[in-house]
């Protein structure tokens, strides 16, 4: 692909075809038509249009960035050509769709789509407009490439933020509506769908200007963290974070508190699974089982539906915890000898068995079957019942605090080192005299316990449990978040959960295309940061020794440059 000797048109042609193909795919998938009335800037351009034009702009941009420095003319021409090819591919979709009954197969190849692609014009002028606009996209891309870096970055930032803000209109209005006078101010920028044109221009100027101004300042010199003396400011930062965490629910309102509850619930589970997978290296695909056991134990013990003498949340909690630890060990024993993917499938099976038993008509008198369990007790403090999501947030916060502390202490304990030894090489670890039975069981039991606690709060939060909530996807989500955060890293669990569990909630804007976007995000995230968003220092060292050395070198260079300028 990178052979410069071949014809100068080859690469733009390739890029144009790929971009056009992506646009065609997104059109046929239905995203373009679904979001045709969803304006980013009211009356000017809609999300649907962004969806089919963005691939062309992005592809042209990445092509031009990749290729070696060229003359100004060449850059503009290749941009133009990429746009042309992309436009022609899209136009072909319209022409074919108008003449062949594509809709029998591709349900979204409808007149609605064709009208959007031809900008509501008759066929021929419409197609010409389409191709012209695609070419403009290509030229825009070359324009950004040709501009000085600082200006280009400012523009890119401005545009991205406008897109994001326009997209999140409803969300922003919902949240800010609680903020009194500020709400009116925010409303001024927005139309009934998307931003007002004037508001968009104002915002763009603001963001791009700020960015331009900021990038003009010399980059702050990063000092290597000093481990011995921690200045007061170090603690102040953490205290500030703590206070912020405590204040979040009233600031953000109930909707964001609900998302935060979900995020924290997954952090709880993530920390637990991180011990099993990240520390001890045991791949567990059925982690939802313990979550289910925690939730169901809580349900069975506290619901008056199944129980003549229901307990309170706090009375039932120890039983739920014991149930989880015991089941963790029961799972742990048979899988002691299994490794890698055999372990994965057995744990997966365990998760399914638990769900199916909870669902079964057979055990219905005890677990409620498909009707689930309702009227589950909510935790009380004195006479105060924690029942809204904002109040339960504090319970999650408390749980996460305790569990994170335990996990953090465990990691650096003797047990933690044993786990890691087992993870690195089981045979050597056993040869060194490590009791692999106790070690593995401990990992399973701890992981199960944390997940079970999350389950009890989940049950209390919904006041009901249904077997359908205990599906395989929960296990997959927890596993994904610890890998996205960075395996074995505790802060990674926080970041991973925030990104992974927060984003689908925010992606609700995409309605039925939520999981499509989510899947694409997962792939992109892992391709760009395979070590995770906040990798464990030790792992990072193993994986990226060379890069780290390079980075250190760059840091040193920057520092010396900085000292030179100050001289």
């Amino acid at each position: 692909m990178d052979s410069p000797s071949s014809s100068p048109w080859k690469q733009p042609l390739q890029a144009g075809v790929i971009a056009g193909a992506v646009s065609v795919l997104l059109s046929l998938v239905g995203m373009v038509a679904t979001f045709k009335d969803r304006f980013i800037i009211s009356g000017v351009f809609s999300m649907g249009q962004v969806i089919f034009l963005a691939p062309i702009l992005l592809m042209a941009y990445s092509l031009l960035r990749r290729t070696a420095p060229q003359s100004r003319q060449q850059v503009i021409l290749s941009g133009l050509f990429t746009g042309l090819v992309g436009g022609v591919v899209l136009a072909a979709l319209v022409v074919i769709g108008k003449n062949v009954d594509l809709q029998a197969m591709f349900v979204n190849s409808s007149p609605i789509l064709h009208n959007i692609l031809t900008f509501n014009q008759p066929l021929v002028p419409g197609l010409l407009i389409l191709i012209a606009i695609c070419m403009v996209m290509g030229v825009l891309a070359s324009g950004i490439v040709l501009l000085p870096q600082r200006v280009a970055t400012a523009i890119i930032q401005g545009v991205s933020w406008i897109l994001l803000i326009g997209l999140m209109r409803d969300l922003i209005i919902t949240v800010t509506s609680r903020w009194g006078p500020l709400a009116g101010l925010v409303r001024l920028f927005f139309a009934n769908s998307g931003l007002k044109p004037l508001g968009a221009i104002l915002l763009f100027a603001l963001i791009a200007g700020l960015n331009y101004w900021r990038s003009g300042r010399p980059a702050p010199v990063v000092k290597p963290a000093q481990t011995k003396e921690r200045p007061l400011i170090y603690y102040a930062k953490w205290i500030g974070l703590g206070v912020l965490l405590l204040l979040l629910p009233p600031i953000l309102g109930i909707f964001f508190s609900d998302i935060l509850d979900t995020v924290f619930m997954y952090i709880l589970m993530g920390i637990g699974l991180n011990i099993v997978v990240g520390f001890a290296g045991l791949l567990d695909l059925g982690y939802v089982a313990f979550f289910a056991i925690g939730a169901y134990t809580m349900g069975v013990l506290t619901s008056p539906e199944l129980n003549a003498d229901p307990m309170t949340y706090w009375q039932a909690l120890p039983f739920a915890m014991i149930a989880c630890v015991v089941s963790g060990m029961i799972l742990g024993l048979p899988v002691l000898k299994m490794r890698g993917d055999y372990l994965a499938i057995v744990t997966l099976g365990f998760g399914e068995i638990v769900r199916l038993l909870a669902l079964s008509d057979w055990l219905r008198p005890w677990f409620g079957g498909s009707q689930g369990i309702q009227l589950i007790a909510q935790p009380t403090i004195g006479n105060f019942v924690l029942n809204t999501q904002q109040e339960l947030y504090y319970l999650f916060l408390l749980g996460v605090g305790i569990v994170a502390f335990i996990a953090w202490r465990l990691r650096d304990s003797r047990m933690g080192r044993t786990w890691m030894a087992l993870r690195e090489d089981e045979d050597v670890a056993i040869a060194m005299g490590i009791n692999h039975v106790a070690t593995k069981l401990m990992a399973f039991a701890t992981g199960a316990l944390f997940s079970g606690i999350a389950g009890t709060i989940f049950a209390a939060k919904l006041q009901s449990v249904y077997p359908h909530s205990m599906n395989f996807l929960v296990s997959i989500n927890v596993l994904s978040l610890i890998i996205i955060g960075g395996m074995g890293s505790i802060p990674g669990v926080f970041v991973g959960s925030l990104v992974l569990m927060g984003s689908p909630e925010l992606l609700r804007e995409f309605a039925e295309y939520r999981y499509l976007v989510y899947g694409a995000l997962l792939v992109v995230m892992m391709l760009t940061r395979p070590e995770g968003l906040w990798p464990d220092a030790r792992r990072r060292l193993e994986l990226h020794e060379e890069e780290l050395e390079k980075e250190a070198q760059e840091l040193a260079d920057a520092e010396s440059a900085a000292t030179e300028t100050t001289k």
């Binding site: 609605i112 006078p181 603001l206 999501q389 989940f458």
Partner: protein, 405 residues
């Protein structure tokens, strides 16, 4: 810094633009749970909480289209546009909570259409009820949601869907009286809907004097049902009631005839299987499959002439993908009528909608000429005109033929 000055100036400008908007308001809200004000040029904000992704999505997408048709046909309501936003209820309790919470946080919403599934309703409805909305569902059929005194019954919640108790009982009567069978088996798929329908069916059928040979359950995502059918065949039923959904339902229909002992058994589904997908999925074996459903013959003539064309245009499909679109359409129109009744309009077009008054107006709905019949809401929120009919499928034909009563 000049830029900072610019920021400050723009903020000031924005605030000064805001001030005139805060003029004196002649309308004073005296409603017990508050009012919604819709400024001129702003739309009336309605919302949905329905399942629009995952395996059950056709249920929600179908009802959502029903609401969209109602909005499209209505055009403007008291001079305002109607906007519909919404959330995915995921057909699950946690999905219901997320959707309910999100919608409850938006004070501009007047009414919510949903939820699609009863498990979602049990969690979402309390949240939405607390927020002062009217909630009206087109497809929740669980009996407890509208049972007086039940903890799952909340103020402001109504439904245009019929109660499971009506449909399950009708199916049992059809089997016992019309088809004259005495031995029946049931299959559910572990969903709330199917489980409670088959329970009602079994109870009624036994009360009529019939015998239930087996009550089996299947995994809705399984594909091979021959084994379970073979085991059902051992009980020798003449009739199998399977109030499940399209996917498993059509596969069971296909496979049942191939199982020895079930060659001449009658199969009957419920409204979850009233869908063109059944004709597509069950192929030739669809012949003779019964489904119970709201009685389309009792539907007003507008259903064929006005509603369906618009539905097909909006959804871009040949046939409705599920059965509750008409109920959703009626739900929307009940809301429109109630808004028209209680809204107070200022001279400049500003609307004030008192929430409790709106609820009262919806509960007071009487003899409302809807698509699904003449609707009258009970004090606990059952608005359906519960006429159940039984239909028989024929190969390649949709909708199926009405045969009972």
């Amino acid at each position: 810094m000049n830029k900072r000055l610019l920021v400050l100036l723009s903020v000031l400008l924005a605030v000064s633009m805001l001030l005139p908007a805060c003029g004196p308001a002649p309308y004073e809200c005296t409603d017990a749970i508050g009012c919604v004000t819709v400024a001129p040029g702003e739309p009336i904000h309605l919302a949905y909480a329905m399942v629009i992704s995952g395996p059950d999505e056709t249920l929600g997408i179908d009802s959502r289209t029903g609401v969209e048709v109602a909005i499209a046909l209505k055009g403007k309501l008291l001079g305002h546009d109607i906007s519909l936003t919404g959330e995915d209820d995921g057909c699950s309790a946690e999905g219901g909570q997320a959707a309910g919470t999100k919608l409850a946080a938006d004070p501009t919403i007047i009414a919510v259409f949903g939820t699609s599934c009863s498990s979602a309703a049990r969690v979402a409805v309390p949240l939405l009820s607390q927020a002062g909305f009217v909630i009206i569902s087109a497809s929740n059929t669980a009996p407890d949601l509208t049972r007086a005194g039940d903890p799952n019954n909340h103020p402001g919640y109504l439904r245009t869907a019929h109660n499971d108790e009506v449909q399950g009982a009708a199916a049992a009567q059809f089997a016992y009286e019309k088809m004259g069978v005495r031995k029946a088996a049931t299959i559910h798929d572990g969903s709330l809907y199917a489980e409670s329908l088959q329970a009602v069916f079994a109870k009624t059928f036994q009360e009529l004097g019939g015998e239930i040979t087996t009550q089996e359950a299947v995994d809705p995502n399984a594909t091979d049902f021959k084994s379970v059918l073979t085991s059902i065949a051992a009980g020798g039923p003449e009739f199998i009631y399977l109030p499940i959904f399209v996917k498993a339902g059509s596969l069971i229909t296909r496979q049942a005839k191939e199982v020895p002992g079930l060659e001449s058994v009658y199969l009957m589904g419920a409204d979850g299987m009233f869908s063109p997908d059944v004709v597509e999925g069950a192929g030739e074996q669809v012949e003779g499959l019964f489904v119970s459903s709201p009685d389309l013959a009792a539907f007003s003539a507008d259903y064929q002439t006005v509603f369906l064309p618009k539905y097909k245009e909006l959804a871009g499909v040949d046939e409705p993908v599920s059965i509750f679109h008409a109920h959703a359409f009626d739900a929307a129109n009940i809301i429109f009528a109630a808004i028209e009744k209680v809204a107070v309009q200022d001279e400049d077009g500003t609307l004030h909608i008192p929430r409790q008054a709106l609820r009262d107006a919806v509960y007071a709905t009487k003899d409302f000429a809807g698509l699904t019949g003449n609707l009258t809401c009970t004090p606990t929120g059952d608005c359906a005109d519960p006429k159940i009919a039984v239909y028989e499928y024929h190969v390649g034909e949709y909708p199926p033929e009405r045969i009972w009563p």
